[in-house]
Structure formats: structure tokens, C-alpha cells
Symmetry: C2
Subunit: 322 residues, 2 copies
């Protein structure tokens, strides 16, 4: 039995781009796009459309900006009508002017990522997108640290002031348990009446897939995943696991297995993501993964890389000062 | 708030031994033992006591047999009164005669692993252990493939015919979802009235920790984990995650972080365990991980190692013939 309302969003290139400054080759992005379309996934997110005033084009790859001409190189000759194309705008690092009218773009969905404090910026970007003809979502990041009152107000605003299709619970720190997911879905439902609820999980404590399932059971219908979990730090809910759980016969995992073999496994030699003790410590203490990412970036011959107890004690002390 | 009845069992050396034929150095086992004791964990499992008629002492390391003199080398000078020592006997690969009277042994707990079909052998070994003065458990492996009627009968027998302290749900294939864990805990409770229920999970679909939590919530009190998840194939519920979830102040994660740095991270260069596509495919299709383990053992330059689609198609076809 499956729930036809469920949409799966593969955001491998977008979230994975946080691990390599969005420096994927066009060939890799084409292959991922092609496979995701062939698998019957509903939406594929190909990167950020963030502002060149905020990110250097010298330092960051094409998929931090998703210029229209680059997206066309990805989809040229293989564009699927079934799989929508999404890009992400960060509410504090993107501008409305970078979004063309829908008729001039291959993009279908603009996902606006925001902290609760930037909700007004996010609403502006989301409304810009819907007014220009796109589907839009608002994805509330770092939800595990959001203050109750602020989150409630943000949700009420989104419901009233936007026409987004979905509002996301984003567990940026990978620190939620299933019972927290239940709590947030219930809270979202209290405010969000005419829009879907989405979940985007990180795997710091190996709960990304489990929390996504918890979200499904509680009523979330927009589900994010990435191939082999490729994403920031500990990575995300693996898309291949998500498809194995969903029973909708429209999905076919086999093209995903092919592209994981061909494109993602070679990346494991260059980028390190997935479960590790620093991410586990940060996640279980409800902390941003940046300090853990810095630790993981140390060379293997630097003993500090493996000083887990020290890292734990440091984060625990900082937590008491929070 | 914590549940004082909960017992954590670290089985790093025992389950991890399935990945290196139990060839850990005495030094490694000593360091793991010492750290697990220092962390306040209730039980540490140091290997199998399987029969030398079934395993070659040339091929397998000391921890496949756990001879008393080898165990004494591990605990000598550092034996903790708080942390019990366990060993495992496989019902079809171990004999009663290998178990000394309790007064002659450093072992406290004998865990008997069994398939449902071998339940009579398991009961014999468990009763041998309790009669000789040990605590014993029976751990029912491959539960996801057990036939309902056989499992019911086995549980009724265990309840009636043994004095074990706990009966385990062992998700050998890593194929259970949380709802399945609920189902099995409820079923066990129907038959097992005077013994605890245990959970031992594998991580094929990244649900080992989540399913352990599901077991806790449903009432299981014996919880298995391994350091950094070291265990067969995709590995186990990481002990460090389990401690981060449990609120009992008697636990201290820091010695675990130290020994993971010192002993487990170096092992990652020699043994490959954890999430991978072959394990994910086997787990999600409710299949034994052996075929996936064979695939993972291929050298990296053998393209068959990455033929995930072919592996998926093979297992799917076989499944239809089951």
C-alpha cells in the first residue's frame, strides 16, 4: 500500500555540493539527473541559485549558482517531463533578481532554505518565485535549535503570507529522534493547513532514514534524500533506502544503483561523508556540524583528528555556556 | 529519566570477530574490555566459545574459542566487578563440555545464539550454562525469516524449559523496520513472562540504532551494541550512540571515545564494515548478508564489486524462487 501524495526529492547535487563547494562536473550532474529521472523520482534538486555577491565564482562550482545555461547543459536531450527540477535559494545569500520568469527557465521548483530568524527574507524569495510562475517551498533549517515562539510565529506567517507547496522540517544538526519528528510534524500541522509538510534529515546519529520514516508515518509528504547519503557532514537519508521503503510501483531503484556505481562511489575517494564520531558527538549534543567538519578535514596523520574525547569535552563545556 | 532495568551489552569483539575470523590481538581485547568497564556498561562480550571441532584453531583467532587462559590474559589486573563478562555459544557449533563450572571461570554470562530450528540444542546449552552457575540468554537469530508457528513454539519452550535471564530478537539480516520491532517485542511478551527481552540489530538499512530505540520504547531491556558499529557486514547499533540516548548517569561515553580512537579507527584500515549498497540490497530484500559480504570482499579493481544493479536483480530473482 502506498500514499500517492508522497513526493521524493533527490538533492544529491545540492546537499552534496556542501562537501565540495558544488564542484561537480557537468557530466556527473547529467548522469545523476538522468538516473533520478529514470527512477521515477518526483523532483531533482541540481544545486543552489545563490548570489555571486555572496560566493566567489572562482572558488565555488557551477552548482552554487545554477545559471540557466549550465542547467540547460545538464538536461539537454534528456529532459524528463515527469521529474521536476528544483534549485535552492538561501534566504540570506540569494536575491530575487537571479530568478528568471518561469517561461525562460528549465527550473520548476524553487526551495528557499532559511533559519527562523530570516523568515521574512524567505517569504520574500518564496513569493518572488511563485509570482514568477514556479512552485516554491520554504525549508526551515536548524529546527532543533529554533525557539518555540519564533517557530510558531514563522509557521503562522508562512501559512498566511505565501503560496508555497510545502514547508520543511530540516534537521540540520542531525539531532532529532523519531519522537521529536512526531512533535514537529504535529506542530507544523497546527499551522500549515493548505500546504504539505516536508522532512530533510541529516545522519549524524544514524537516524536520517528512521526519522524520514517517522515523518511519513506522521503525515509528511515531501521527502528528501541523496544518493548513498551524499551530503553535508554525516550526510542525508539515502534516496535508495527511501525508495526501498516506499511501495509506490512508479519507482525503480535500478537506475540509482547504476549511477551510485558510476558516479558516487568514485566520489568516496575524494569526499568524506557519512557517520563518524565527531558528527555523532555534535549531533547528539544538538550542535552545528561545522566544528566536526573541520576536525574531519584534518589530515589522517594529524593526531588531533582522532582526539574524540577532547572534542566531546569541548562541546560539552561550550554547551553549558550556551 | 532513565529505566534502571536496562542493561547494555557491548559485543564488539564477538560480532566484530565475524569480520576478521576473531583475530584480534590480546592487547586490543584488553583495551576494549578496559574501556567498556570504565564506561559503566553492564556486560561485555569477548567472543565465542565455539567448538574446536567446528572451527580450525589455525584459521580462527583466540576469540572464536575464548579459552579460559586467554580470557584471563584479557582481564588480568583490570577485572571490573561492575561489568559482567559474556561469551557466546552457537547452538549448532558449540558443546556443553567446553563450559567449565562457574567457579573456575571469569565468565558471568553465556549467550546462546540459535536459529529457531535449533531451539532444542539452544535450550540444552542454556540449561547447561545455568546449571553450571552462569547467567544465560538465548538469542534467536534471523528472526525476520522465522516462521510464525515455529517461533511461537520456540518462545513457549524457552519460557517453560529454561532459566535464562533474557531472550533476544536478533535482526541478523538488518531487514526489520521499527514497526516490526514492535511486533516482535509484543509477540515475545506474550510468551516470555519471567525473563527480559533483548534486541540485537544489524545496520543494513541504517536502522540498527532506530530499531534498538524502538525496542526500548516497547519494553526490551537487554540492548546490544558494538563500538563504532563494528560487526558483521553493515555492522551493529553503535554502543556510543546507545549511551548518548540512554540517560542513566552511570554511563560515561568518554572511555569509549578513547578506545575508538586508539583501537577501532586503526581497524577501519583492515576491515570494512558499515553501510554499503550490497548490504542495503540484501537487508531491504530480507536476505542473509553472505552474498553481499562476498561482493564486498572483491578487490576494488574488480568491476563486479560495483555491479549493484546486477546484484539487486539476482537477489530479486532468487527471492521469487524462494
Amino acid at each position: 500500500m502506498f500514499r500517492p501524495e508522497i513526493k521524493v526529492i533527490d538533492c544529491t547535487i545540492r546537499d552534496g555540493g556542501l562537501m565540495n563547494k558544488s564542484n561537480f562536473t557537468i557530466e556527473t550532474v547529467r548522469n545523476v539527473y538522468k538516473a533520478v529521472c529514470a527512477s521515477g523520482i518526483d523532483i531533482v534538486e541540481l544545486g543552489y541559485r545563490n548570489s555571486k555577491q555572496h560566493f566567489s565564482v572562482k572558488e565555488y562550482g557551477l552548482w552554487r549558482f545554477c545559471d540557466e545555461e549550465d542547467l540547460r547543459k545538464v538536461v539537454d536531450g534528456i529532459k524528463s517531463e515527469k521529474t521536476k527540477i528544483a534549485i535552492m535559494q538561501d534566504s540570506h545569500k540569494a536575491v530575487s533578481e537571479d530568478v528568471l520568469p518561469k517561461k525562460d527557465s528549465v527550473v520548476d521548483v524553487i526551495r528557499v532554505a532559511t533559519y527562523v530568524k530570516d523568515i521574512d527574507k524567505a517569504i520574500k524569495l518564496a513569493n518572488n518565485a511563485t509570482e514568477k510562475g514556479y512552485e516554491a517551498t520554504i525549508n526551515i533549517m536548524s529546527i532543533s535549535r529554533a525557539l518555540e515562539r519564533d517557530l510558531d510565529e514563522a509557521l503562522a506567517q508562512i501559512e498566511k503570507e505565501t503560496k508555497v507547496s510545502a514547508v520543511y522540517i530540516v534537521d540540520s544538526f542531525g539531532s532529532l529522534y523519531s519522537e521529536d519528528m512526531d512533535y514537529y510534524v504535529d506542530k507544523f500541522k497546527k499551522y500549515i493547513k493548505n500546504k504539505e509538510i516536508g522532512v530533510h534529515c541529516h545522519n549524524s546519529t544514524q537516524l536520517a532514514f528512521a526519522n524520514t520514516i517517522a515523518g511519513i508515518i506522521r503525515g509528511a509528504n515531501y521527502l528528501d534524500g541523496t544518493l548513498y547519503g551524499l551530503g553535508r557532514g554525516s550526510g542525508n537519508c539515502p534516496t535508495e533506502l527511501l525508495l526501498s521503503f516506499l511501495k509506490n510501483p512508479k519507482f525503480d531503484s535500478r537506475p540509482l544503483f547504476d549511477v551510485i556505481s558510476k558516479e558516487i562511489m568514485p566520489l568516496t575517494k575524494k569526499i568524506t561523508w557519512g557517520y563518524s564520531i565527531p558528527y555523532m558527538i555534535a549531533g547528539s549534543l544538538n550542535r552545528h556540524p561545522q566544528a566536526a567538519m573541520d576536525m574531519m578535514d584534518l589530515p589522517d596523520n594529524n593526531p588531533e583528528k582522532f582526539e574524540y574525547r577532547k572534542f566531546y569535552e569541548k562541546l560539552t563545556e561550550e554547551q553549558m555556556e550556551d
